[in-house]
Symmetry: C2
Subunit: 118 residues, 2 copies
């Protein structure tokens, strides 16, 4: 009588250790909902351009008065987009005199990038 021994190659199942939450295991509904809201705030050409202008400005801060001309949109439209970016955590807002100033809040951007990094 022959006894068959099943040999499992455990190294094959160890796989690569991976850091990105999206790749490590299936994300849950709550996490997917939260990430989708954040990505939606970014997923607009005007908002990406505004965020990029602020992020590349000196001190990563810009006056709303300097953001209107470069994107070629009306002041209310620019203000709406800046509000969406601020509510999503990508910018912080402070008022000095007549104007509002927007500063990059880099943690939000880093958070999204880390989530997607494989």
């Amino acid at each position: 009588m022959v006894t068959l021994l099943e040999v499992t190659d455990i190294t094959a199942s160890v796989g690569e250790v991976c850091c990105a939450p999206l790749v490590r295991e299936p994300i849950g509904q709550a996490e997917a909902d939260k990430l989708a809201v954040t990505l939606k705030a970014l997923a607009d050409p005007a908002r990406l351009r505004l965020l990029s202008i602020v992020a590349s400005s000196e001190g990563q801060e810009a006056c709303v008065c300097d953001l209107i001309a470069p994107v070629g949109l009306s002041q209310p439209t620019v203000s709406h987009h800046l509000k969406v970016l601020t509510e999503a955590g990508f910018l912080s807002r402070s008022k000095r005199g007549t104007w509002a100033y927007y500063r990059l809040a880099p943690d939000a951007l880093t958070g999204v990038a880390d989530f997607l990094t494989i």
Copy 2:
């Protein structure tokens, strides 16, 4: 006669060398349009969950037949979301027998993450 020499502190204008396109300089309209389309494909809870299930599967590949139950959506809805992810470059599709298989195309995800990494 006194000659005034203007001394420019060049170190002040050198700034930090930075890698993220979004932070290095204001992105242009064409680049913003392209990135927004890619981010829109990601910015949906069902698509994030589907992408995450595929990405965390063995070989980063999954049969469409194994993707329907976990997200609790109809087969046509799941197929639509998979099509959006495939067209955006996040997944590749191959047909084997009756079923379609989806595999993670990691470059697209890395591309978005690199763009946003500060």
